[in-house]
Subunit: 308 residues, 2 copies
C-alpha cells in the first residue's frame, strides 16, 4: 500500500471547554485517526484554539494579580495546553495498540504580513462578552476593537491575517522524515510579523484552516483534510432544498462562493482554504466529519475538492 502525507485540521468541536472534557474528547479524536496511523501514513495535525485561547486570555484579564497576556502569548500557551493533550492521547493509544510511531508537538510561529488589509478590518471575535459600557471602557483604556456580537453582548475583535510562512517549517520536515505524527500550527500558529528587529508577536488570530492549507503546501501533502461537525459541505444547509456536495472541482466551488453559498466565519474559510491548497498543489482536499475521517480519506466519503 502506498503511504501518503496528510494534513488534518481539527475543529473546535474536537476539543474541550475544560481540561477534563478536552482529554475525553481527544480520546475520541485519536480513535478516529487510528486507522490512518496503523496504515503508516504521515500525519500533521493542526488544531483550532478559539475557545481555549479566549479562556486563557480571559483568565489573565479577570485575575487581579497577574499581568495582561497579549494574544500571541495566549496562543503560544494554547499550543502547549492542547498539544500536550493531543500528544498524550495519541501516545497512549499508540502504545496500547503496540504501534511504533512517535508524536511531537511543535510550538509554531506563523508569519503574517503587517500590510495585510485584514489588519485594517478586525473580524475575528475572541474572548468574553461585555456590556456596552465595559466595551467602551476597554476600547478607550486598552485600544481594543469592540463589536456587538449577535445580540449576546460586546466582544473584542482581532484581525485574522493570512498565513505567509511557517517559521519552524524545517522542524516539521525533519520530524516527518522520521515519520513522527506532528502537531503544529495550533490555533493557526502564533502570529508574527517581521520588521528590522526580527519576528514579533501581534494581536491577531490566524484562521486554522488557512494555516493547515499553508502547512499542507509546505510539506507537499497528498491531501488536506478539514474535519468539522458536518459530514459534507452542503448547499442550502438544513433547508428543504439542501444539496450534498460529494465531489466538486475548484472552479465550480469558486462559482458557488461568488453566489454567496457559504457562511463567513463558518464554511467559507474552510472552502477557501481547500481551494488555495488544491490550486497550488494539484492534490485534493476533503471536508468531512471527525467520525468519518478514515472513510472520507479512503472511501470517498465527505466532500472531495478536486483540481480542475
Amino acid at each position: 500500500m502506498t503511504m501518503s502525507k496528510y494534513v488534518i485540521s481539527l475543529g473546535g468541536n474536537a476539543l474541550g471547554k475544560d481540561p477534563q472534557s478536552q482529554k475525553d474528547l481527544l480520546k475520541h479524536v485519536s480513535l478516529a485517526i487510528l486507522p490512518l496511523i496503523k496504515e503508516g501514513h504521515d500525519i500533521v495535525l493542526v488544531h483550532g484554539n478559539g475557545p481555549q485561547v479566549g479562556m486563557i486570555n480571559l483568565a489573565f484579564n479577570e485575575s487581579n494579580s497577574t499581568p495582561l497576556m497579549p494574544f500571541a502569548e495566549c496562543g503560544a500557551m494554547s499550543q502547549g495546553y492542547i498539544g500536550f493533550h493531543i500528544q498524550n492521547a495519541l501516545i497512549n493509544l499508540i502504545e496500547k495498540e503496540k504501534l511504533n510511531r512517535k508524536v511531537t508537538t511543535l510550538v509554531t510561529q506563523v508569519l503574517v504580513d503587517e500590510n495585510d488589509p485584514r489588519f485594517k478590518n478586525p473580524s475575528k471575535p475572541i474572548g468574553s462578552f461585555y456590556s456596552k459600557e465595559e466595551a467602551d471602557e476597554l476600547a478607550k483604556s486598552l485600544g481594543y476593537d469592540m463589536v456587538e456580537d449577535a445580540g449576546r453582548g460586546y466582544r473584542r475583535v482581532v484581525p485574522s491575517p493570512l498565513p505567509i510562512d511557517v517559521i519552524e517549517k524545517e522542524s516539521l520536515l525533519a520530524l516527518l522524515e522520521k515519520h513522527h505524527i506532528v502537531i503544529s500550527g495550533g490555533g493557526g500558529g502564533i502570529p508574527v510579523v517581521k520588521n528590522d528587529e526580527g519576528y514579533h508577536g501581534v494581536d491577531a488570530v490566524i484562521d486554522k484552516d488557512f494555516a493547515s492549507a499553508k502547512i499542507a503546501e509546505i510539506i507537499e501533502a497528498d491531501a488536506l483534510i478539514i474535519l468539522t461537525a458536518v459530514d459534507h459541505v452542503y448547499l442550502n444547509f438544513n433547508e428543504p432544498n439542501q444539496i450534498k456536495l460529494e465531489k466538486i472541482h475548484v472552479d465550480e466551488l469558486e462559482t458557488l462562493i461568488e453566489d454567496n453559498h457559504f457562511k463567513k466565519g463558518s464554511m467559507l474559510p474552510k472552502v477557501e482554504a481547500c481551494i488555495s491548497f488544491v490550486k497550488k498543489s494539484g492534490h485534493k482536499a476533503i471536508i468531512a466529519s471527525l467520525d468519518e475521517a478514515y472513510d472520507a480519506i479512503v472511501h470517498h466519503k465527505g466532500t472531495e475538492i478536486l483540481p480542475r
Copy 2:
C-alpha cells in the same frame, strides 16, 4: 574545532515576571549563548518555570469564568509561552547574524514514578500566598497541601518527583541530528505517571536541573551546564570564610553535601543534578552565571564538576 553537545539549564533569573520583561531578558540570554551557536555546537535548552507556572495557575484560580487548571496543564502552557519567547529571541538573533541554525520548542512530557517517596512529602511551594483561613479552606475544598512559607503567608506545596524518562526523547534526538537548537523539558517537563491506561498528568513540579541532567544523559551530552545567578558554587557563601569552588570531583562534592554545605531548594538540587549526570556519563558538569556561560564552557570559568 570539535563540535560538542551541551545541555544548558536556564534558571528563573533568565526569564521574566511578565511578557515584556521576559522578552527583554531573553534577548540577553540569546546573546550569552550566541558564541556557542556561532561555533556550531549542539545545544538543548531547558528552562525553569517557577514564577510563570505559578502565574498561570493563579490567573485561572482568580478568574471567575474559567475552569481550574491542573498543574500539568499549567506546565504545558508555560512550555508554550516561554518556548515561544526563547525560540523567537534566538531566531531573531540567528537571522541578524546570518547564521544557518534552526530552533525548535518541543512540548515535553517527563515520566515520574507514582511510587516515588517524594510524592508523600510535597516540598515545592508554588503559586500565590494565602492567609491561614484561606489556606485551610483550600486544603479542605480542593485537597491542597498548604504550608507556611518563610513568614510571607501560606502557599500550596506540590511533590517534586525525580524524572525517569523523557516521553518525547526521539523527537529531541531527531532534531539534534539536524543540528537544531532544541528547547525541551521546560519547567522540568510536564510530569506524567504511567498506569494501565497510559501516561497521565499529575500535580507535581519536576526540578528543572534534574530534568536537565536526565536530558543530558539521554542525548549523551559532552557537558551539562547549569546557569544561575552566581558565578561559582561557594562554600560559606557571602561570609568572611567564603570559598570559591573552581574544579571539584564528584566524590568531594558528595562529602560536602553530607556536611550540609548546600541549601535545599537552592544550590543543593543543582549540585545533585550535576553529580547524577557526571557519574552516569563520565563527562563534566558546570555551574556558572548566565553572563559567563561561554567562558565557563570554553575557558574553565565557573565551577567544573568532574568525574572521579
